[in-house]
């Protein structure tokens, strides 16, 4: 007698299957010798994989089921976030087409790592179990640690990889310890069982184990979403990582972490809300203040966006604190908006890094309004949107966030968002001013790229300036950045579009928001 095989819901698993298969194929394709295949075939395969994943996620839209022993949820929130991850990863692939980082680390490896990071995010976004939360986080983070360090010739990149690894692992370990405490207190790892245990057993909510667990989990999550006071790594890692990686990391990691955040806190730990909501509210306010103040004096655009992302994490945390359907809806909407406006900004940074010798310094944008309107407008829209000016998606996003906080009885958090936005005006407008109101600066001398000890001649050849890629391209040799410009224009237009007609995005966010079954 053969034992009955467990039922496998292949349809529900299909995005994950597609990513896994795609990752393997891409890794294998990277082994072929043809330069063309490696340089263009691998990104193409990656795009196909991501496109297929997005398509499968759309196919599964409207489903509401739990698969793999109820460890993974296939619902609209997970599928919505899947679409965000794919969008972020596709943008990263396009931006990296002529970047030096896949060149130096191997195209197959770079893209396979990207796909496995997306896989981790997909797993995390549908996690319904403590084990899966941890697994998803690690599967997302470990490839990212490597990707940060893929610019092997820049010590900054390696340094950021190591820093991210250390800080990220501390975050993971803290999170894990917290998860262990929750398991200890409730005796369950599934979210539903935890929620049942917390609501049925008297006194469990105020049990020291539960409280320690919640505290440690909050700390771990703060590391991951870069919320104050565990944010210090963010500017360094954002600045050091290759810019396409930074772009992907900034938008997709945040979406994944917040997806897990709402599932864990607003579903599993919802009965302990009286214990964690003051803590999270304090973290939200701290992030808003620290992020906005930190950004005021930055001159590097990537660092500026890093600090701004800390502040934005604070805004989004406010929606988690509210813990109702409207909060999740506002969060989902804002995550999408956040992706759109940040990708527009990062695409411009990528293009300017290659066009000017200033790297990601704010000087690289000087006079852009006159010389490159196709880049200046997306950046302007992105900055105005991040600041929350009307007719941009950011305005509608902030509108819904503030509306959700007021409706949920946290008016003061709404006020904190408003005050944070005021501070942020200063630095966002500084970027706009640099583009439209200032003159073009004189370029400085270029720094030579040092050789790697023990590096292969092949790698050295790859970094040759003749290649046209990398940060070596000076203004004396204009390189058309068509693909970066296209990404910038696309997402800039989306920022404007969703600012004027947000209804389509709202429909998606509403479906995602109602997936958790909150009131």
């Amino acid at each position: 007698m053969t034992p009955e095989a467990p039922h496998i819901d292949w349809a529900g698993l299909s995005p994950i299957v597609a990513l896994t298969a795609g990752g393997i194929v891409v890794l294998a394709a990277g082994l072929f010798r043809g330069a063309w295949l490696r340089r263009y075939g691998v990104p193409l395969l990656t795009l196909l994989t991501l496109g297929a994943t997005a398509g499968l996620s759309i196919w599964q839209w409207g489903e509401d089921k739990a698969i793999v022993s109820r460890a993974l949820a296939v619902d609209d929130l997970a599928m919505f976030l899947n679409l965000l991850f794919c969008a972020g990863a596709i943008a990263a692939v396009v931006l990296a087409l002529r970047d030096s980082s896949p060149e130096e680390s191997g195209h197959g490896e770079w893209h396979a790592l990207l796909i496995s990071s997306v896989l981790g995010m997909t797993v995390l976004a549908s996690a319904q179990n403590l084990v899966v939360v941890f697994l998803g986080f690690e599967l997302l983070s470990i490839p990212l640690y490597v990707m940060c360090a893929t610019n092997l010739r820049r010590s900054k990149s390696l340094e950021s990889g190591l820093k991210y690894l250390i800080v990220g692992s501390v975050g993971s370990a803290t999170l894990l310890y917290g998860l262990a405490m929750i398991y200890g207190a409730t005796g369950a790892t599934g979210f539903e069982q935890i929620a049942t245990a917390l609501s049925s057993q008297a006194g469990l909510i105020d049990d020291p184990l539960t409280l320690t667990g919640i505290g440690l989990i909050v700390v771990g999550f703060c590391f991951k979403v870069s919320a104050a006071p565990f944010h210090q790594w963010t500017p360094d890692v954002y600045e050091g990582a290759p810019t396409p990686v930074t772009a992907f990391m900034a938008v997709a990691t945040k979406a994944a972490a917040f997806g897990a955040f709402v599932r864990l806190f607003d579903v599993a730990l919802i009965d302990a809300a009286t214990n964690w909501s003051p803590l999270l509210a304090a973290v939200a306010v701290a992030s808003i203040v620290v992020g906005n103040v930190g950004a005021l004096t930055q001159t590097s655009l990537k660092r500026l966006l890093a600090w701004s992302s800390i502040a934005q994490a604070g805004y989004m945390l406010a929606a988690v604190v509210v813990a109702d359907r409207e909060g999740v809806e506002a969060l989902a909407f804002y995550l999408a908006v956040y992706l759109v406006m940040n990708l527009a900004a990062f695409a411009v940074i990528v293009a300017r890094e290659r066009e000017t010798p200033f790297g990601d310094d704010i000087r690289s944008l000087a006079g852009l309004g006159a010389s490159r309107p196709a880049l200046a407008w997306p950046m302007t829209l992105a900055m105005l949107s991040l600041a929350g000016i009307p007719a941009t998606a950011g305005f509608i996003g902030k509108f819904t966030l503030i509306g959700a906080t007021v409706d949920g009885g946290y008016t003061w958090l709404g006020v904190a968002i408003v005050v944070g936005s005021m501070l942020s005006l200063y630095y966002y407008l500084r970027v706009v001013a640099a583009m439209w109101l200032s003159d073009v600066p004189v370029p400085a001398a270029r720094e030579p790229v040092p050789a790697i000890a023990g590096g292969s001649p092949e790698l050295d050849a790859a970094a040759d300036p003749e290649d046209g890629a990398g940060q070596d391209a000076g203004p004396d040799r204009p390189v058309s950045q068509a693909e970066a410009t296209a990404v910038a224009v696309l997402f800039g237009a989306a920022t404007l579009f969703f600012g004027i007609l947000p209804s389509p995005l709202f429909d998606l966010a509403r479906d995602a928001g109602s997936a958790l079954g909150l009131l």
Partner: protein, 489 residues
Amino acid sequence: MPLSLLIWLPAVSGLVAVLWPARWAPRVVLAGSVITLVLAIGYVASFDRGAEGLQWVTDETWIAELGIHYKLGLDGLNLFLVLVTALLFAAALLHANLREWERPRLFFFMFALAESAVLGAFLAQDLALFVAFFDLMLIPFYFLIGAWGRGERVRATTKLVIYTLVGSLFMLAGAIATGVIAAEGGGELTFVLSDLAQVQLAEGTQQWIFLCFALAFLVKMPLFPVHGWMPDGYRAMPLPVLAVFSAVLSKVAAYGFLRVVLPLYPDASVHFQELMLLLAVAAILYGSVMAFTQTDLRLILGFSSMAQLGFIVLGIFALRPEGAQGALLQMVNHALVVVPLFFVVGALAARAGGSEDIRDMGGMAARAPLLAATFLIAALANLAMPGFANFVGEFYILLGVFESKLAIAIVASTGVVLASVYMLRAFIATMHNRAGSRAESRELSLGEGVAIVPLVVCVLALALYPQLPLARSEKSIDASVRTAQAVQR
């Protein structure tokens, strides 16, 4: 004819200008604004003065999820403000056509966008839409001042934008809270003004929301003590931009009190009445004194505007129909007067070697009777000489305040006297007195004349027939003030 046409026509002309060769941009945008003006005149001509409520209503659902409607409408409150906006933008664009600008396409596109945003703010009948247009107004001005201004333009722009956006963000929070809290009783989330006016918010809620809105509006006007951006901003702005900024944007803020604050937050309006009246009086006195001590003509006009806006706020917060009527008339008057005054400043500066300091001027009237006459008419209108519509406006305002707060009215009356002192000082110092070292007397050129004289004719026409706006606005004003007045009793 939908009102959307009126709003978006300038912006569309701006877009057309961007696509056409650069030398056509000024003409295209000017043509767009003139057509807008003709449309606006058409609306005024066919306005049904007997009807109550909004006319030509456009009501589309914009963002259903948030209850935000794209609702536009004309009534007595905004009818003439829209007309004046269209007129003054056309005049300012005409003035801007007189000289060359760097990157003209972007300049005129931004100018056109500004007109669309201002018209949108005046016509919006949905709170969220109003907030959106109110903030949107600032974007084109940011570029106009920052890229085409003079002197410390970037610093001045940043200061201006941060001041006003901080106010706007408070207003945003207040607006969201109004909608969300009004819907808490089980009603559907909506931001349509007429629906919100049906819901009575708790008095404590009204009070903090009132303060949010008041801050936004006072900064925009600007009124003492939140006018910190004004001196730098006025100095840095290009002249045609400054003219519409001073004439129209401050009116959007004053209009916001009548359209939004009084009907939606009547209890708070009564609660803070004295505070607002005191602020208004402070603005009148401070503005007058500062206008008297400044030597830069722009700042003289800037501080005189502050005093005038003090009067307007005074009229609104008399919470009497007479006061509000006067305030509305005064908004139209001040806008009509201040633009030709700024153009005269431009003309004077052109004759004084580019300086706008009255110490460098003098004796300008000698060979320029037309220039002197237009300046004199505008100056007399600004100081509310009897016979001008400004006199009627201030008279109504003070009448309203006398009925409610006698002491404040008496102090405010001194502002009328001070106005004649500083306006005549500016006139005498520039047109008469001993000629300045670099000043030469020259008659208005044709271009300057075309920009200035029609506006002065409008001022004179309004002086002869102030009933034109008053008769049409009466019913709407009553409706706006009614709730607050009822609370007060």
